[in-house]
C-alpha cells in the first residue's frame, strides 16, 4: 500500500506502431514520486515515442496511463501540463525571430503581465544559474542558451514530472553540473524526472532507477545501485560492446587547410572571431575545445564559405578560398557536418535519398546532361550508403522527419563524409547518437583521417576532443588561446582555458 501511494505515474502496456516500425511494443513503466528515472536505449529504440505518448503528443495504439492510480486520457500537451507533466525540449520549439520573453509568454496557457514573467525568468535564472537576457532574440542566442530558455519554459509550468529528452546533448560539462544540481533540488521537493541520455556516466550520476528499451521493447528496470556500465550496455544492445575507438597513427602529410589570422567582426562591431590561425595537415584531427558559443560555429561556417570573414585568409591546398562561393568550396572537397542538423543539415520534408544528394545536384552525378534525375543510380547509391552507415530506415524513399534523431544524423554524416575528400569539418558529430552510433562516427572520423583527410573537430565534449584529436586548440570569446599537441595536453589546463583563464593567471 505504501509503495502504491508513492507511485505518481503508470504507463501500462503501451503500444505504438508507425508504418514499417513498431516503436513501442507493450511497454509498462512506473514513476514514483521523488524519483529520477533514466530511459536508456539505442537510437530508434522508442524512447522519444514513449515520452511523446506520455506528454500527449502521440496517441498510443493500445495501453493506458494512470496518474495517482486514476486512469487519465492525455490527448494534448496542454492536458499533460495541466496534469503536472512538463517536457524539456532541446531545440526548435522556440520561435527564432522572437525574444526570450516572447517565447516564454507564447507557451503559457494563461496570460500574465510581461513584466511579471520577465521577473520570473530572471528569478529562475538566478536560482538555477540559468541566466539569460529576456530581451535577447532567440536566433541570436547560441544553442546552449536556447536550451536554457527551454528549461525555464518547463519550469514555469509547475510540473511535478519533468521529461527531459537528451537535455545535456548541447550543454557544457559545467552547465550539465548545474542542470544536475537543479534536478536534485527538484527531486528533493518530491517531484519526479524522466531523463533521456546516451551518456552512461550521466546515467550513473543522476538516476535512481534505469529503464532500458531495445527495439521498442522494455528490456528491464534496475536500480542504480545494482547497475554498472557493462550491465547497462549489455541490456541495451543484448551483447557486450567494445567502446574503444582505435587510434590510428596516420602519417601526417602536407598542409590541407590553413586558417591565417582570420577575424570576423559582428554588425555591432563585436569581435566574433579574433585573429584565429591554425593549420591542419593530411592525416590529422584538429580538435577545437571550448564552451559552446565562443565562436566555434562561426569558425566552421567561415571555412565552409557560409560566413564572410572580415580579415585574414583561408587556404585549402595552398589556394585561398575566401572568395569562393559555398558550392565551389563544397566542390573543392570540403565536407561539413553542421551542429544544427535540422536548421541547415537536412530538408526534413524530403526523402532520405534526396537529402543524401542535397549537395551533389550540380555536375552529372545524379542529374544527366538534360538535368533530369537519374533515379536508378540514386536508388542504388542510397542503398549502399544506408548499409554502409547503418542508417535504420524502412525505405530510401522515407521522409527524413520520420527517422529517429540518431538516424537523421547518420544521413548527414553519410553525405558529408562522402563529399569531404580533403577536409571534413565535424561540428558536434556525435550529438544525440547512442554510444554504438557515436563510436561508429568516431571510427569513421579515424578512418577518414587515416585515408589522408584533414579533420576539424568541434565538440562540447572535452572527452571526445581528447579521445580523437592529434592537436587541440582552445577557443574562448572568438580567440584561440592556445594549441597543444595531444601528448602534451593537460586536461586541467584546457578546462581552465575554456573558461578564459589564461596561462599567466593559471601559473599564479
Amino acid at each position: 500500500m505504501k509503495y502504491l501511494d508513492n507511485v505518481f505515474i503508470e504507463m501500462e502496456n503501451i503500444n505504438k506502431v508507425f508504418p514499417g516500425t513498431v516503436a513501442n511494443d507493450d511497454i509498462s513503466i512506473k514513476v514514483k514520486k521523488g524519483e529520477v528515472i533514466s530511459l536508456l536505449g539505442e537510437n530508434g529504440a522508442g524512447k522519444t515515442t514513449l515520452m511523446k505518448i506520455l506528454y500527449g503528443m502521440y496517441k498510443a495504439d493500445r495501453g493506458e496511463i494512470k496518474i495517482d492510480g486514476k486512469k487519465v486520457n492525455i490527448n494534448s500537451p496542454q492536458k499533460a501540463k495541466k496534469l503536472g507533466i512538463g517536457m524539456i525540449h532541446q531545440h526548435f520549439t522556440l520561435v527564432p525571430v522572437h525574444t526570450v520573453l516572447e517565447n516564454v509568454l507564447l507557451q503559457l496557457n494563461e496570460s500574465y503581465a510581461p513584466k511579471y514573467v520577465e521577473n520570473k525568468i530572471k528569478e529562475i535564472g538566478n536560482k538555477y544559474e540559468l541566466v539569460v537576457d529576456p530581451s535577447a532574440l532567440i536566433n541570436e542566442l547560441p544553442v546552449g542558451f536556447q536550451q536554457r530558455v527551454e528549461i525555464i519554459k518547463a519550469l514555469l509550468g509547475n510540473s511535478k514530472l519533468l521529461i527531459m529528452d537528451e537535455p545535456t546533448a548541447v550543454l557544457t560539462p559545467q552547465e550539465t553540473e548545474k542542470l544536475f544540481k537543479f534536478i536534485n533540488e527538484f527531486k528533493s521537493e518530491g517531484n519526479s524526472v524522466i531523463f533521456i541520455t546516451h551518456k552512461l556516466n550521466e546515467v550513473m550520476e543522476i538516476s535512481d532507477r534505469i529503464i532500458v528499451l531495445r527495439d521498442g521493447k522494455k528490456v528491464g528496470s534496475i536500480n542504480k545501485k545494482d547497475a554498472d556500465r557493462e550491465k547497462l550496455t549489455q541490456m541495451m544492445i543484448g551483447r557486450e560492446f567494445d567502446f574503444e575507438v582505435k587510434k590510428n597513427e596516420a602519417t601526417i602529410g602536407k598542409k590541407i587547410i590553413e586558417v591565417d589570422n582570420v577575424s570576423i567582426v559582428g554588425e555591432t562591431g563585436n569581435q566574433i572571431l579574433n585573429n584565429i590561425s591554425l593549420n591542419i595537415s593530411a592525416g590529422e584531427i584538429f580538435g577545437v575545445a571550448g564552451v559552446s558559443g565562443n565562436g566555434q560555429e562561426e569558425l566552421a561556417d567561415a571555412i565552409a564559405g557560409l560566413k564572410k570573414i572580415s580579415n585574414g585568409d583561408i587556404r585549402l591546398m595552398g589556394k585561398s578560398i575566401v572568395n569562393l562561393n559555398i558550392r565551389e568550396i563544397i566542390n573543392s572537397g570540403v565536407g561539413y557536418i553542421p551542429a544544427d542538423r535540422h536548421k541547415v543539415g537536412l530538408v526534413l520534408e524530403m526523402t532520405v535519398e534526396e537529402n543524401l544528394i542535397l549537395k551533389s545536384t550540380y555536375g552529372q552525378k545524379y542529374f544527366n546532361k538534360y538535368k533530369l534525375l537519374k533515379s536508378k543510380k540514386l536508388k542504388i547509391d542510397t542503398e549502399k550508403k544506408i548499409n554502409k552507415f547503418n542508417i535504420k530506415v524502412s525505405t530510401s524513399k522515407a521522409l527524413v522527419h520520420s527517422l529517429s534523431g540518431g538516424n537523421q544524423q547518420k544521413v548527414v554524416v553519410a553525405r558529408e563524409v562522402t563529399l569531404g575528400d580533403k577536409l571534413l569539418i565535424a561540428s558536434q558529430p556525435t550529438r544525440g547518437l547512442d554510444f554504438g552510433a557515436a563510436a561508429y562516427v568516431k571510427r569513421t572520423l579515424e578512418k577518414e583521417k587515416s585515408k589522408g583527410k584533414a579533420i576539424l573537430l568541434i565538440s562540447n565534449e572535452l572527452s571526445e576532443i581528447m579521445e580523437l584529436s592529434d592537436k587541440i586548440g582552445v577557443i574562448y570569446e572568438g580567440e584561440i588561446l592556445d594549441i597543444f599537441d595531444r601528448n602534451e595536453a593537460d586536461l586541467k589546463k584546457i578546462g581552465l582555458l575554456m573558461t578564459g583563464v589564461r596561462g599567466e593567471s593559471f601559473e599564479k
Binding site: P19, G20, T48, M51, K52, M57, Y58, M87, H89, Q90, H91, F92, T93, E150, D165, E166, A169, V170, I196, L306, N325, I326, R327, I329, I330, Y336, R341, H342, V344, G345, L346, V347, L348, E349, M350, E354, L358, K359, T361, Y362, F367, K371, L372, L373, I386, N387, N390, I391, K392, V393, S394, T395, K397, A398, H401, S404, G405, G406, Q408, G432
Partner: protein, 371 residues
C-alpha cells in the same frame, strides 16, 4: 542490423501512407465542394429557387449538347494555366498574386505578333505568338523574382502591384499603337485567320490549346519531381537554410520560378487571343488571375489536381450560365458557387494546417529532443 528488413512490407506501408495522404486530400476537396454547393444552395432558397432542381439543371445544361461540353474545355484552358502560375510558385513557398497582369502582358505579346506576322503560315504565327506571350510575360514576372532576390522585396506585394502596371500598359496600347483601325473602342483589330488556333470540335470554342494546357501541367509536374530545377525549388521551398548550406543558389531559383510562372500566365493570354476572342479587348477576362488562385487552391497546387479543379470550375460556369439565362437566378450565383467552394477549401486547409502545425510542432519538439 538488418535495416532493410521487411523491406517490401515497408514499401507497401509507405505507399499506403502516401496513398492515404492523397486520399485525405481528395476526400477533403470533395467535401469542400459539397459544402460550398450546399451553402450556395441555401442562398438559392432565399431567392425562392429549389437548389436541388437548380443543380440538376446545371449538370443537365453543362452536358446538354456538344457545344456546351466543348465550352467546358474551352473555358478551363486559360484557368489551368493561371492556376499553374500560382501553384508552381507556391511549391517554392513563393506567392505569385500577379497572374492577371502577366496574363495581360501575354495577351499583348500574342496579339502584337499575330497582327504583325499574320502573313506567315499558321504554324509559324502560332508558334511565334505562343513563344512571344511566354517570353514577354515571363520576363515581366522575372522582375518580381529579381526584386525578391536582390532587394529582399516581398514578392506578394510586388506581384500584386505589378498587375496595376500591366493594366495601365494595356490601356495605353489599346488606346494608342494597337487600337483597332476604326479607332472607336479600346480594342485591337481581329487577328488574321492564320493566327487562329484550330478548333478541336468544329463550330465550338474547344480548341487544341486545351491539350497544350494539360501538357503544360504535365511538364510542370515532371519539372517538380524529376529535374534538378524541381529538386532545387522544393529544397528552397522547404528549408531555405539547408538549400543555402548545400550551395543551391536561391536567388536564381526565385528568378526562374517567377519567369516560368509569368510565362504560364502569359500563355493563358495567347490561348484567349488566338483561340477564343481573336482580338484583345481592354480589361477583358478581368478575373482570370483570381480564378486561377481559386483553382490552384482547390487543386492543392498539384499540377494534376489543377486540371481537374479547372474543369470543375468551368462546368459550374457553363451550366450556371444557362441556368441564370433560363431562370430568375442572377448570374452572380456562379461566382457565389465557385467562391464558396474555395472558401470551404480554405477552411479545410486551415483545419488541415492546424493539424499539420500541430504535427510539425510535435515534429519540431520531437526533433529538438532527439538531437
Amino acid at each position: 542490423m538488418s535495416h532493410l528488413k521487411n523491406r517490401s512490407n515497408s514499401v507497401k506501408d509507405l505507399f499506403l501512407d502516401k496513398f492515404n495522404n492523397k486520399l485525405v486530400l481528395i476526400l477533403s476537396s470533395v467535401f469542400s465542394i459539397f459544402m460550398g454547393l450546399t451553402v450556395s444552395g441555401l442562398l438559392m432558397l432565399f431567392l425562392n429557387q429549389n437548389p436541388v432542381e437548380a443543380y440538376k439543371l446545371i449538370i443537365e445544361f453543362a452536358f446538354i449538347d456538344s457545344y456546351n461540353i466543348a465550352n467546358i474545355f474551352a473555358k478551363s484552358t486559360p484557368l489551368i494555366l493561371t492556376a499553374l502560375a500560382f501553384g508552381f510558385a507556391f511549391k517554392a513557398k513563393l506567392f505569385n498574386i500577379g497572374a492577371q497582369g502577366q496574363f495581360y502582358i501575354g495577351v499583348l505579346a500574342a496579339v502584337f505578333v499575330s497582327l504583325k506576322l499574320g502573313w506567315m503560315p499558321p504554324f509559324f504565327v502560332l508558334s511565334l505568338s505562343l513563344a512571344a506571350s511566354f517570353a514577354a510575360a515571363g520576363i515581366w514576372a522575372s522582375f518580381i523574382g529579381y526584386f525578391k532576390a536582390y532587394f529582399n522585396a516581398n514578392e506578394f506585394l510586388v506581384s500584386m502591384m505589378s498587375t496595376y502596371v500591366a493594366v495601365a500598359i494595356m490601356d495605353y496600347l489599346l488606346r494608342g499603337p494597337l487600337q483597332e483601325s476604326k479607332g472607336e473602342y479600346p480594342q485591337t483589330d481581329l487577328i488574321p485567320n492564320t493566327a487562329k488556333i484550330p478548333t478541336f470540335i468544329n463550330g465550338t470554342q474547344f480548341h487544341y490549346g486545351f491539350f497544350a494546357a494539360v501538357g503544360a501541367a504535365l511538364i510542370i509536374y515532371y519539372i517538380l519531381w524529376h529535374t534538378r530545377l524541381g529538386f532545387h525549388i522544393r529544397a528552397v521551398g522547404q528549408n531555405r537554410n539547408a538549400a543555402e548550406f548545400s550551395g543551391i543558389n536561391e536567388k536564381k531559383i526565385f528568378i526562374i520560378v517567377f519567369l516560368i510562372c509569368g510565362g504560364l500566365a502569359g500563355i493563358a493570354g495567347f490561348m484567349q487571343v488566338n483561340g477564343i476572342n481573336h482580338m484583345a479587348v481592354q480589361g477583358f477576362e478581368a478575373d482570370i488571375g483570381a480564378a486561377g488562385i481559386g483553382v490552384a487552391i482547390l487543386g492543392n497546387a498539384n499540377p494534376i489536381g489543377i486540371v481537374f479543379a479547372a474543369l470543375l470550375f468551368s462546368t459550374l460556369e457553363v451550366g450556371g450560365l444557362m441556368l441564370t439565362q433560363t431562370s430568375s437566378l442572377p448570374s452572380s450565383i456562379i461566382g457565389i458557387m465557385q467562391g464558396s467552394v474555395v472558401i470551404f477549401v480554405v477552411i479545410s486547409y486551415f483545419i488541415n494546417n492546424k493539424f499539420n502545425i500541430l504535427k510539425r510542432k510535435r515534429k519540431l519538439i520531437n526533433n529538438g529532443e532527439e538531437i
